[in-house]
Structure formats: C-alpha cells, structure tokens
Symmetry: D2
C-alpha cells in the first residue's frame, strides 16, 4: 500500500476488549494509528469507532487488509467501511435559484479547504449557469414539472453515473426528490434546510420563524431520507435575531448560517467523520493529526 | 413627582410625526428623555415605543401626567402603560421538583441583579422548602391532582391576591394551568420551557432531542397563554452538544441554559422592556443610561 | 429631493430636548422618520443619533436641507454627516496572498447583500488576479519593498483618486501602511485582524493562540489608525476550538470568522451605521424598516 | 477492587503501538474500558491518554494495579496518575467581596452537578459569611495586608492541611498569592479571571474592555501559576455586548460568564479530564458513558 492515510468506520454491539482488539489488529499489520475515536452508546449497547492509520510502513495490499479485517469483523459482528486517502471523491451540486451556498462550496473547493472534485452542477433552472462558467464546472439545466419528474430524475441518475459521483449536495435545490431516487443514494445526499430542525420543517421557515417570534434562527444540514427534513442531522447552527428582523432580513442572516453549516457537513462527510445509526449521525470531531 | 425614572410603553398605528409628537410632549412636561427606543413594523403598519424619562425636574403629578398623555394617546389611537421606578414589583415563583431555576432567581434577587420582591414560593411538592427557608421566603405547599385542580388554583389565586403579586414565574412548575387561571394574568406569567421552541413542544424535550440527534439544545422563556408552549417568546438560547450526550447529560447542559434564559426574561419584564403584539414579544434591549 | 432614503449621523454634547428638536426638525421639512436610533454616553455626557428619513414627500433640495440643518447643528454644537441612498459608494479592496475574504466580498457584492461598487482590487502580489478576472474587476499589481513603499503608496493614492474611492477594505493585505496614507483616509480604511483584539496584536496570531492554549479564537474588523491594530473596533467574533487544533487548523477555522466579521463591518460602514467617538465605534444595529 | 470507575491520565513520547499496548494492558487486568480518549501532539511528538475503566470485574488491588502499570509506564517513558471514583475530593473556596461565583459553586455542589465536598470557605473579608452559613460550610475570615501576608498564607496552608484539601478554587479572591503558596499546589489552584485572556490581563478588565470598545467580553478559568493570569487555560467563554454597555453593565454580563466558566473548569478538574503540558491544558470532553 502506498503512503497514505486510511480511515476505518466501524460499528458493532458493545463488548469487552473491543478497542484492544481493533488497535492490536492494525498495529500488527504495520500501521501507525494516527487517531482512534470511539463512542459507546451505553443505552443501546452499541460501539462505534473511527480509526485513522498511516500506511507508510504497512506492507499489506488493500485486498489483503480488507479480507483480514473482514474476519475480525465477522467475529465481532461489525458493520464497517474503509476509505483510502488517495481516492478523491466526486461531488455533484444541485441548485435552483439561490446562489450563496453554491458560491461558497465552489470557493472552498478552489481554496482547498474542501478536498474533492466538484464534477458537475445540476439545476432545474438556468439562472446560476454563469457561476458554473466562472468556476469552469459543467452545468446541466434539467427543468422539471410534475409530469416530467420521473424522466428528469432518470437524467440526473444518468449524469451521476457518468461522472461516478460519490456525494450529492443539495445546495438549496428546492425540489422534493422521489423516494426511488433517495433510496438509491443512502447517506450520500446532503441537504441544507433553512431552519433549526425539527422547528419549521417544510416550506417558508423564515416567514414562520418571523411569525412565531423566535429569538434565534438556524440552519440544518442532514442526509436526505424519504421522510422530508427528518434525515440524520450532520450539523446545525443558529444566530441571534431581534424583533427588528423582517422575513427578508432573516433570509440574509440565515444565508450565512446555511453556507457555514452546509460546508461543515460536506467536509465532515468527505473526511469520513460520520457514522449513521438509528437515524442519528455520529460525527467524530476532526482529529488534529 | 419625586425624582425617579418613568417608563412609558406605547403601541399605535404607524403615522407620520409620531416620534416628534411623543418626545415633544414629554419634553414640554419637563422630563429629560433618558432613552427612546422605537420599532416600526412596516408590514403591519404598527408603531411601538419605549421611552424612559428622568422625572427629577418634572413638576407634574402622576395623575396629571396620565390624564394629559391619555389625550395624546386617544388622538393617535395608542395603547399604552406607564411604570414608575419607585414601585418595586412583587414576584411569585412556582416550582415542582427541580431547584436550579429557583436557586438562580433567589440568588439574583439577593445580589440585586434582579430588582423586585420575591414575595412567596408556591409548589405542588414539599421538596424545595429547605431552599425557601435558606432565603427566608414564605413557601406554600399546595398539592394538586386532577380532582383538586380547581380548588388548588383558587388557593393560588388567593395567595397572589394576598401578596399583591405583579408577576408569576413558573420556574419549572411541571403542571398545566387552567385556561381560567392563565386568562386572569395576561402577560404576567412567565414560563420556562426546556427546549428551543417551537422544536420539542410538550413533554420530555431532552429525550426527544437526543432521539432526533440535534446538535444544539435550548431553552425558551415565554408568556404563558392558553395554547401550551405557544405564548410570546421573550428569550431563548442554545448550547452545542455532541453525540456523546445522553438524555441525562442533556438535562445538565440544559439546566444552565434554562437558568440564564429565565433570569434574562424576568429581568426584561421587570424593567418594562417588553411590548407584546400579535403573539410576538418585542423586547427592547436594556438601555445603557 | 427624489424619492430615496436619507441618513443623518449626529454627535453632540448631551442636553435636554435633543430628540424632540431633531425629530421635529425633520418632521417639519416633510420627511417621514423611518428609524431614529440614539445613544447617550452618560459618563462622557455625549449624545449620538442615527436617523433615517424617507424623502418621498419632502420637497426640499439637498442644499437647502443641509443649510437648514447646519443652523440647528451650530446651536446644539453638533458634528454631523448626511448620506443619500441613491449615491452608491465605491470600494477598493487590498489583498496579498489570501483569497477567502476577497472571494467573500466579491460574492456578496454580486449577490446584492453588500450594496456598493467594487471599483478595483490592489495587491502587492499577482497571485489573486485570476479571481479578479473571474468577477471582472480591475486588478492592480503594485509590488512593494521597503525602498519603494513611498512610491507604491503614491500609486495607490493615484488609483483611489482615479476611481473616486469612498472606502478601502484591507482584506488581509499583509503590509503596514504609512502614517501619511492612513491619515489621508480617516474612518475610511477597514482592516481585518485575525485575532480577537486586543489579544494577539501584531504578527502570527494563530500560532500565538495555539501556544497560549486559548479555547476560542477570533477575528476583529476595525478602522485603521496609525496605532497598528488599535483602531476603533467595528465587529468581532469568536469560535470555539479544542486542544486538537493545530496552528494550521486554527487558520482554517479563523478564515470563516474573518470572512463574516469583515463582511459585517463593511456592510455596517456602507449603511452608515457607525459613529466613531474616542476611538470607540458606536455601531447602531441595522434597522428593520 | 470494589465496583467503581477508575481513570488514568497518561502522557508520554509518541511511539507506535501505544493505544494497543495500553488498552490491552487494562483489558488483560479484567477492566472494561468505558472510554479511551487520546491526543497526539504531532508537532511536539507527544502522546496523551485519558482512559476510564469499569472495575466491576477486575480482581486486582489498587496497589497491584499501580505497580503493574508502573512497569509499563517505565518502558514507555510515561508520566501518569490514577484516580478512583469512590474517593470524593475536598475543595476549598477562596473569596473576597463578590458572591456570584460562590453562590453558584455551592448550589451546584448541593444539586450534585459538581461532585465533591466543599470543605471550607476562606476570605480576607467577613462579608460573605452569611452565604456560608446558609449552606452550612465553615467560613474562615483571614484578613490580609502587605505586612501580614506571609502569616495569613501560613494560616491558609494550615487550614488546607487540616481539611486535606485537594483543590483550591479562587472564586474572585482578589489577592495575589505568593510564589511559595502557588508552587505548593501545582495544578491544584483554579482561578477565574474576568476577561478573555490574554486580553486584559491584570486589574479592571471590564473598564478596559469598555474603553477599548470590544464587541464581546469574556472570562477565563485557569490554573494559577507564578506568572499572573498566564497559567494554563481550562475554560473560556464570551458574550456579545453593545456600545450601550457601561463598565457597570459589563460587570453584570460578565458575572454570568464567570459563573459558568468557573463551574465548568472545576467540573473538568474534578472529573480528571485535564492533562497539563507546556502550559497548555488538554481538556478531554466529558465522555457520555
């Protein structure tokens, strides 16, 4: 294996000796353990681990590593995945009219703070094409109506396959995706909702926040599931507002929260910091190695 | 009028010249205007003012002031109230089992950061009596069941009258008050709810926050209305949590938010910073005079 | 006067009747007062006002308005300025190597959340020219060394005059400007410093924050004065970090704070929300009209 | 060993296989590992671990455990400490005139959110004795002047020994302790400073924050060292203020930050979450087990 960082995400029933067994396994294969983060859900008797390995001195092939680990995993009843640092992920961004999240992601990718390929942008409108052009990213305008939804989604799926997309980011794509589409990409679609969920699920959250007279507004990034706005929450944040705020100024304040929250969620996903369990996203903090 | 600070809270339809008319009125009665805070709700065409006056050089009686202002108010279609700094308000605290908000309010009143009399504590349990004793506040233990609710509330009303209570603070009083009781004290009952409303209305918010996997939890202080947890929000705040948090640790983190949020709301009320309109609480910031 | 919003910023010694006098004055000239924000510094006996007027029904010329107000101002010993909504301000951005603040400002201007012309970008390096090109903004590469500093600044001054620049934004321009330069543009140069001032003034704040082991890092936007990093603070914010953070990850976290803080400060300046007094920036909140 | 939780805090040079070795060691002694938190400082090549063990099924005595671990530690060049859950720590609180932090700590201890004995309160004034009496804690009034400082500190040392105090909390004790005193209790004195250090070290931070015109104020809890306000920072927080804030209102806002920050720091210390290294406090988050 070439010099690179390898990340394992593991979940299994809690049992004595797990950390010793896992770390000893990787140590014996010649890996240096850069960080080893665990979470024990004592109520559910479940164990979760994210372990980052430096492969520089490991003389094992990917195949061999995975086969060997599978044996350990079977004994301990683990579900697991492994991610190799050298493999850059392909991202598709879906948008409608609103540009702030799109700009933000393109910029961060350009600056290197989000490490991925942004392979394409898909929109049901043509409005944001000039931004795609500025950044030199292919832009697909796929209009959609009730009648054409099935075909449009089929076109999207075609594009996602063509570009071998790993992650779909709904950066204020204001359409509801079909169950079929969502089920095709479990934990691979990140949506940004412009409220502090579960408050103000559904449409017009800023207007409703204004009417309810809340003192803080927020945004929530979550994996899309078939239950609208009810998928596992990856990141949220809020900002203080005042009675002076109108639905319009709330939109402006909220835009900044949305940008940051979505970017953080995308980054956590790309860095393999997330394990989903029982509709909860366990997000391990970025390790400082 | 003796030397003191006088606060007017005014609401009326928006119209040209309001601030000039109000400030000129008070200026002509000999008041020095310490601060004059306004809010124009342009969407609803409503105008709101909080004006604080130094009465040191005003040689007008309360009666005269109020009569004169009423004339202005009638012309401009104002609803208004006036509050004299020398009149300390009487507060009743209602509690059940949980002590953190009670301690906090007693302490702040003792230290002078909340300026009022805490006249009595009412509880459906006897558990927190020792705290009342420590601080020398009368404690009334009024148990309640479905059957005795009407009588118990009548006893409470009796006590509130006996102590001429101005403000009722539900510092984690885990009973639902009757509509009759609530309607008797409009904008005079402050409740603390242990979630970031409108998320997790109703029972067990920390358990539900855990299950939903939110990344921040909060607390909300609001005026009690007959619609449970739907009254005008005075203050809210949140704190970041992690997947490590259990419902039990959430309770601990939440307790600190509840204390601060409730104390701030009570302070804003006592300082006459709040005007309620359309179920929204307009909370003017504390002026620095 | 055409239909537009007019903003007055006023400071004067505190005295009885000010708000009545000012608001009556504008009311009598036919203006509708949209918002009227005041601050009384009781310790220094100083009064500050920001008043926003709708000129739709005011049949007075600019000249006449200013002459009339000057008479009032002289009587009350006011310093004041007036700003007409129709006059878009010209902004110059100065940068070195770092792009995040530049991207952010360009984007916000493009999206309309910052209302100004970005007239030109000036840099001592050529590195960020491609970004200027993407957004179609003139980019001037003016290298600088100790020896050429005077000439380089003269060139900058020439450009600022050519473009009739109103505001200079140092978006991580890592050069120290000369006293002459700074004195030429009082309260017209906004700098972003990558620490929570007054902590970590000067160079390498993230490295020093790491070494000191602080638990939060921040950023500060301030008007540049001849005392480095000591000008009036317009906006600051912080973000929580952990012991895992390295100087490098601090830089990443800090970049997001810098972007937001600088954008907010620029917006407050452009919206005439700021009055400077005794090296303190009084920043009136955005009014919701 | 009786059923209890055992916590090890370990630091050593970084080297391959550490986590495997430590966790295997504890696993083999019959402990269940509840949580295992690590931090690798890659720049300094240092490794830190906090490991929490359930001793329910471990049939080893304390002595035996410590002897065995010492052998491992010697090989790996570790510095370490072990803490047994059943041993409640004794805390002394030192105060002067200000009561908010004192109230807060007493209350939290009473409610069980801070798990310790508060053995005694020491003050150079008599003012806060009534609070000690309310909570039934011995109060020692030890006045101090320049001349009597050595004797007064000797008296304090006597009391700390008499009560076998583990932790000294300076809850706004406004005296500077001597080097001798401080050196006697390394990492066992926690001080609260009423600013966001390193900003506003030394006296009158709120006055200076006002004068500097900062937009946020803060508080910092740190271990006391001989360099005043320069010890390892355990916890900090900030709160937004406005230009309306006076030094007096800053004091009020700051008091709430101080209370929370000090309480969190004390809790982290009592729960053995802290390892100090190079004047930085590594504070492991509370584990959710």
């Amino acid at each position: 294996m070439q010099s690179q960082i390898v990340t394992f995400l593991i979940k299994c029933p809690d049992q004595k000796g797990l950390v010793a067994k896992f770390t000893t396994f990787f140590y014996e294969q010649g890996f240096n353990i850069l960080s080893c983060q665990q979470y024990v859900n004592a109520m559910a008797d479940r164990y979760y681990m994210r372990i980052r390995l430096d492969a520089a001195e490991a003389e094992i092939s990917k195949k061999e590593l995975e086969d060997k680990f599978e044996k350990v995993a079977t004994t301990l009843k683990c579900t697991w995945s492994v991610h190799y640092g050298k493999e850059k992920q392909n991202v598709a961004i879906m948008v409608s009219h609103t540009s702030h999240c799109l700009y933000d992601l393109l910029e961060r990718q350009r600056e290197g703070t989000i490490d991925c390929n942004i392979s394409l942008i898909i929109s049901n409108h043509n409005k944001l094409k000039p931004i795609a052009d500025m950044f030199g990213i292919p832009y697909y305008h796929l209009p959609v109506s009730k009648e054409t939804k099935i075909q449009q989604e089929a076109q999207i799926v075609g594009l996602l396959e063509e570009y071998t997309v790993d992650l779909i980011v709904m950066a204020r794509y204001m359409q509801i995706l079909s169950e079929d589409f969502i089920n095709k990409y479990p934990q691979r679609i990140i949506n940004i909702h412009h409220s502090f969920l579960p408050a103000f699920q559904g449409a017009n959250p800023y207007q409703r926040a204004y009417e309810r007279g809340v003192k803080l507004i927020g945004a929530t990034a979550h994996y899309a599931t078939v239950d609208l706005d009810e998928g596992p929450i990856i990141e949220q944040d809020v900002e203080r507002i005042s009675h002076e705020s109108t639905p319009k100024t709330l939109k402006g304040i909220g835009a900044d929260i949305e940008r940051l929250v979505l970017a953080k969620a995308v980054k956590c996903h790309l860095q393999h910091q997330i394990i989903v369990s029982d509709n909860r996203a366990i997000v391990f903090p970025e390790s400082g190695e």
